[in-house]
Symmetry: C2
Subunit: 290 residues, 2 copies
């Protein structure tokens, strides 16, 4: 007898340039739509409570950060997750005493908070000045055992790192999710990163024999346009669902996690890994000092 | 002043079902063609001396293995590399006392043997019974400082592993090359791995901001058809050159390694890596025993 365990995932894509209340209402509406279409795991974009403030380096924006334990947005979505019976990773700007992080609160389908992941890889450059705000995360990479599969979540810049994807898989992840805020490069108008952005995550899907879900925002905020292109791909890297550069909505896709586990074993990638040779990965430049 | 260092790379794609002499002559001819088109780094396919014998598990095939130091094929190509002034990684079946490896001898443009890389990841399954022949390599991943750039070479199954690509980059590689023998799956005729095969290497290109060159064989050997699709992609994963599934020939592409180094620094991926969080990569399943 061949086991089957089907989980339906969704990504939300929308503009998020409004107030916190407007953005939360908009995301709630999309979560409800996705759930109505059968989704059990629903991914909103990164830092969806507001405009992507990291284009500026302004001290005043630190006041938007909230602790995990006193966070009305997380409370609202916890209630929604419970009501709809869906898993929702909530991306938010976290204040933890004097440290600030770009974090995800993982909400199970019961509404329970499973815990916290803090973005490990922090970008910095024109339009994406995240090192001004966020301390690099200290949680390590996490695979969450939810009611709808074991789920790994990386946050935006994390998505470019094979180490992040592989680490979540080694912890047991069955689906990889990436909330994102990416678009134009104000300092380099000719640079369109949309294709590389999709390709590197498609590479993770193939290398780990796992579906990948990416949710990005759309719309123009001041001089920056977010390019959407949210997608869901299968374990071969086939894009099964994708939204356009200006398209608001949700994409929904079902996967059989048991069938994926069989295929993952059959491919043999995890059988043939060579941890004894991977010491260079624990260095920044191939050499260890001291 | 902006520095520039242009290197032209090539991949060879051809059938290799004949005798050793026929195959070597065929590859020599393609090396000469590629060099005439300006190539300075020329990649033949994996184990090009003969048919892909690993489809069977037969003791008699061990007699084809040769030591690095007493190897007429390597001697022939060393002379060719010197004459044409080109770098050639030579894939061969290596006998080292009682151990056998799937290896690459790296020949610099002077004809000098720079050293040896032994395939680290060994596949095993119907049609690809490599674990019967090859001991998993013990050399670790290598970036070779050649006359035409610092070059990393992974061998076939290695190409599915982000750890291999990243390790070569951390050692300083500026180009990643993958000699290959891949095609149909005799036990699973409906499975076509061509797209995932390209996509995972395209993922390495993006994640490491580096061009990737893959050279595969074509043609049918007994019940197995090799699908070619050799390609060269840039640091964004754009396929700049590609051969068809049945097309014999060479593809040639120039890259400015200094410009790539600037773009690699600008992207910031190597700046933002978190080796302190990558311990799980040194495990097989997220846990350390003992």
């Amino acid at each position: 007898m061949t086991s089957s365990r089907v989980v339906t995932v969704a990504a939300i894509q929308c503009p998020l340039g409004g107030s916190r209340e407007e953005n939360v209402e908009r995301v709630i509406s999309h979560v409800e739509t996705a759930a109505a279409r059968g989704a059990q795991v629903i991914l909103p974009p990164e830092l969806f409570e507001g405009p992507y403030f990291c284009r500026h380096e302004k001290t005043e924006f630190f006041s938007m950060a909230r602790p995990l334990e006193d966070n009305p947005t997380i409370e609202t979505f916890s209630e929604l997750a419970r009501r709809l019976g869906v898993v929702i990773p909530i991306s938010f700007f976290e204040k933890a005493n004097h440290a600030y992080y770009n974090s995800v609160a993982m909400l199970d389908a019961s509404g329970e908070l499973l815990g916290l992941y803090r973005k490990s890889h922090i970008p910095d450059g024109p339009g994406y000045e995240e090192k001004f705000y966020f301390r690099p995360g200290d949680t390590g990479f996490i695979a969450w055992p939810t009611q709808h599969g074991v789920i790994g979540v990386g946050i935006c810049w994390d998505q470019w790192y094979p180490e992040c994807a592989r680490s979540m898989m080694l912890e047991g992840a069955e689906l990889l999710l990436y909330p994102t805020a990416i678009g134009s490069e104000p300092a380099d108008p000719g640079l369109d990163t949309k294709d590389p952005w999709q390709r590197v995550m498609i590479g993770h899907a193939v290398a780990n024999v796992v579906p990948v879900v990416a949710a990005n925002r759309i719309g123009t905020e001041e001089d920056q346009s977010f390019y959407g292109a949210s997608f869901i791909c299968n374990h071969r890297g086939d894009k099964l669902a994708e939204l356009g550069r200006d398209e608001e909505g949700v994409i929904v896709q079902a996967f059989d996690l048991d069938e994926l586990a069989r295929m993952r074993a059959g491919w043999g990638f995890f059988r043939d890994r060579r941890p004894d040779l991977y010491e260079p990965l624990l260095t920044a430049d191939g050499e260890r000092w001291g």
